[in-house]
């Protein structure tokens, strides 16, 4: 399944054929994020066979991969050189491709400290709605030639075209990682969270749930030990908790109710009850909750609060430009045409 294979010609032919026959396409990788955003209009265009690491240069901190490459394969490849994809995109159901990760733009619990996938993208190769194979960006860290189309692809849900390959910046893994848990009420936890943004600390992920604050501390041994000792009465727990949170396998996420995601501005304390109904990540900037717990306005001043399901998202305020932008890439509305922006 993970043998490198260049399926780009078939993908290109399929798009050209769709243009000629005026048919629509829904782009599909592993399909692990169907609950988040899944197009059902048109013929399925499978990118999962377009697989493989095209080039990996550990000492340049760059990797170039085909869109169908599983996230697990990328992680294993990077691990051989003690490197990682810092933004740590979710692997729901243990799967997912890099193309799907780029299209959905989701980030793991380390987002405020390690950046998101957009920050890591250096270049893309894509097929637009005219059936043209285009390359934007490159494989170098700094590149300001032309508009930054490659980073715009992150989170675009495939509406601009089919991603063929992605060049990414990678990060060295920290020497050690440790996770501690602190029993704190929400106000005290909030003070700790503010410090993780305003002060140089070893913290690289946070989560507050059910009266406990989890902190991931990373760096060299001396600085992580120093950081651990600065939190009195902490309990060390397994690092796995971050994988469970990232992939929504943590017990909090086990509910049949509708999952909501709320984003807040940095430094704004979410107003929550001290109960199990909210799980707070990203130093307070991302709050998960279930519809059953009612009015999310209680969360305070927020950027957005919506179901974790982009398929039904309302058009954004910049929708006039969004429609034009979509037409600029996909004049025949070929790709994922039922997904709104």
């Amino acid at each position: 399944m993970t043998q490198p294979f260049d399926d780009s010609q078939r993908l290109l032919d399929s798009v050209k054929q769709a243009v000629a026959q005026k048919r629509q396409l829904s782009i599909l990788g592993h399909g692990t994020k169907a609950h988040y955003a899944r197009s059902t209009h048109g013929d399925a265009l499978q990118s999962r066979d377009h697989v493989g690491v095209i080039e990996y240069q550990p000492d340049e901190l760059t990797i170039s991969v085909r869109a169908g490459t599983p996230l697990t394969v990328i992680a294993e490849t990077l691990d051989q050189h003690n490197q990682m994809l810092a933004c740590d995109p979710p692997r729901f159901f243990g799967g997912g491709t890099i193309g799907g990760a780029v299209a959905s733009g989701l980030s793991g619990p380390g987002r405020p400290w390690y950046g998101n996938l957009r920050d890591a993208v250096l270049g893309v190769e894509m097929i637009n709605g005219l059936g043209e194979r285009l390359t934007f960006g490159g494989s170098v860290m700094k590149n300001v030639a032309g508009f930054d189309i490659s980073r715009m692809m992150v989170g675009s849900l495939g509406v601009f075209g089919v991603i063929l390959s992605v060049n990414l910046r990678v990060h060295p893994k920290p020497e050690i990682e440790r996770t501690i848990s602190l029993d704190l009420n929400w106000d005290d936890a909030w003070s700790v969270l503010c410090e993780t943004i305003a002060k140089p600390t070893a913290v690289t992920a946070t989560c507050y749930w059910s009266g406990s604050l989890y902190l991931r501390l990373a760096g060299n041994r001396a600085s992580v030990e120093e950081a651990c000792s600065s939190f009195p009465s902490n309990t060390e727990i397994e690092n796995d908790v971050w994988v469970h949170l990232r992939d929504h396998e943590h017990s909090f996420f086990q509910s049949s109710e509708e999952l909501r995601r709320t984003w807040l501005g940095r430094g704004l304390q979410p107003q929550i009850e001290n109960d199990e109904s909210n799980l707070i990540e990203w130093a307070g900037a991302q709050v998960w909750s279930f519809k059953v717990h009612g009015d999310s306005a209680a969360l305070g001043q927020r950027i957005s609060s919506e179901p974790f399901n982009r398929s039904s998202a309302a058009p954004s305020t910049e929708s006039k430009y969004m429609r034009r932008l979509r037409r600029a890439f996909d004049p025949h509305q070929l790709f994922n045409s039922d997904l709104l922006l």
Binding site: D59, D119, M141, F147, I149
Partner: protein, 484 residues
């Protein structure tokens, strides 16, 4: 006619001191940091606030007059070069820091605020704004956004793009777009990457929210001198491979070292072929272990001389030589032409030898300054602008250097932008459908093509002219050069 009408309308809308039309007043705006190109603007508008910007854009939209937006004018690619028939919109009066949020570590500023003044304003809170282009004393944050400016600390802290959280943009049609905000993500498609680095081609940025970082408690700079460029290059690769991401990692060649040393007396070894400057920052424990490792790697990769500086004064002195490298080179030549190609770092040795060959062919000297950590090269071509023929040779050499960068998988511009300067090499980096896609994208936000027209993206007609010039009988120029 429409230009004159537009000027009258602007004069009747903005206060008198915000509109310049006299040659004596407008001449200082005829060029930006790329002084080889000059065009006196027929009118300079200096808006006081967002509303003034909207008025000027509305007038340009209604009269069909193009508009070029400019900040402090320190750009190095001619992006703010005025048009003979257009309005120059200069945002330097909009220079207020609107809000600093100490808890969330963000600052919301107007575009005319200088880069360094953001860090100065928040220093007492233990915060700073990370991107630090060499012109940071003078350059404006609006210009940084337009160019996606870098600096010596991008390897660890990213470009302007990575440090901008929100933008307010005015379009020529009269809409205000609010992109991002003060959080990490925002709903819908992220347009911030499109506007950062768009060189004034899509809209006018009137408000910027940036991320502030906590100042690292500990910093140390190491200087390693090497007898040859290759060893220094291998040392850089070794540092990164061992998992250290330095805050800054810079390389200079012999000519640049000598010029900088004669200028600022930083204590650089004048006889070295190359020096590496490496800054690490973080907690005391982290810095201590990184410095030990880097020193070891410098030694094993053949450094002949290693110095370290942990006190602020000593560190600043070492950086001063690097940051003053451009003016230092300016002292040893009447003019210099600064290139900005980026390459995958492993090709450094080959590129530098090729640059030396090309320079010899064109009978020009080149000093090399290099953001070694991220592969961004700044060859400085020394020439005399009073000699037209020399300028022509310098430009030819520049284009050929950039073609080499593209040939090894790099780019024609890492952080200075395309502007008017790199339109030719853009033709070698992008295909016809790619350029057409760029133009379709520009049209989304600028339907009438009035925002900084003629910059950043070459027209297809331009490229076909260029290609005719470069390729004769299907042969690449200078076939004797290795294309790797």
């Amino acid at each position: 006619m429409s230009l004159e009408f537009a000027i009258e309308l602007i004069k009747s809308t903005l206060p008198r001191d915000c509109v310049l039309t006299d040659a004596t007043a407008t001449t200082p705006f005829e060029t930006d940091g790329l002084t080889a190109y000059r065009q006196r603007p027929p009118v300079v508008a200096l808006p006081r606030d967002t509303n003034d910007v909207r008025q000027v854009l509305r007038i340009c939209h209604e009269t069909g007059v193009p508009v070029v937006t400019r900040g402090a004018g320190t750009g190095l690619s001619g992006g703010a070069l005025p048009l003979e028939n257009g309005v120059l919109l200069v945002l330097t009066k909009m220079n207020r820091i609107l809000e600093v949020d100490e808890t969330g570590c963000t600052a919301t500023v107007q575009p005319g605020v200088t880069n360094l003044s953001i860090s100065d304003a928040v220093a007492d809170k233990g915060l700073y704004y990370a991107p630090d282009p060499s012109s940071q004393i003078a350059c404006s944050i609006g210009g940084n956004v337009a160019e996606n400016a870098g600096g010596v600390h991008c390897l660890k802290y990213g470009l302007t793009l990575h440090n901008v959280l929100g933008l307010k943009v005015q379009t020529i049609e009269g809409d205000e777009l609010t992109l991002g905000g003060n959080g990490y993500e925002s709903s819908g498609i992220e347009l911030i990457p499109l506007f950062v680095g768009s060189e004034g081609m899509l809209g006018v940025v009137t408000e910027i929210t940036v991320k502030l970082l906590p100042s690292p408690p500990c910093k140390e700079v190491l200087l390693g001198a090497f007898d040859d460029v290759e060893s220094a290059g291998e040392c850089v690769a070794a540092i990164i491979a061992r998992g250290v991401v330095p805050a800054g990692l810079e390389m200079m060649d012999a000519l640049a070292i000598q010029a900088a040393e004669d200028f600022v007396h930083a204590g650089y070894p004048r006889d070295a072929a190359t020096i590496l400057l490496c800054e690490v920052d973080g907690t005391k424990e982290q810095v201590r272990s990184d410095v030990t490792l880097i020193r070891q790697l410098m030694e094993t990769n053949g450094a002949v001389n290693i110095r370290s500086a942990s006190e602020p004064d000593e560190r600043d002195l070492l950086w001063q030589g690097r940051k003053a490298a451009f003016p230092a080179v300016g002292r040893i030549s009447p003019d210099y032409y600064c290139m900005d190609g980026t390459i995958p770092r492993r090709f450094l040795g080959k590129i530098l030898s090729s640059i030396a060959l090309l320079a010899a062919k064109h009978e020009l000297r080149v000093a090399n300054v290099f953001h070694a950590g991220d592969g961004n090269l700044h060859p400085l071509i020394l020439y005399d602008a009073s000699d037209d023929e020399q300028l022509h040779r310098a430009e030819r050499l520049g284009v050929e250097i950039l073609e080499l960068c593209v040939a090894v998988g790099g780019t024609v511009t890492g952080e200075h932008g395309v502007g008017v300067e790199k339109l030719d090499p853009m033709c070698s980096q992008f295909s016809t459908p790619e350029l057409e896609q760029f133009f379709r994208l520009k049209e989304v936000f600028d339907t009438s093509g009035l925002m900084n027209p003629g910059k950043a993206i070459p027209t297809l007609a331009h490229c076909s002219e260029i290609k005719g010039m470069h390729v004769h009988g299907g042969k690449l120029p200078f076939p004797e050069l290795d294309r790797f």
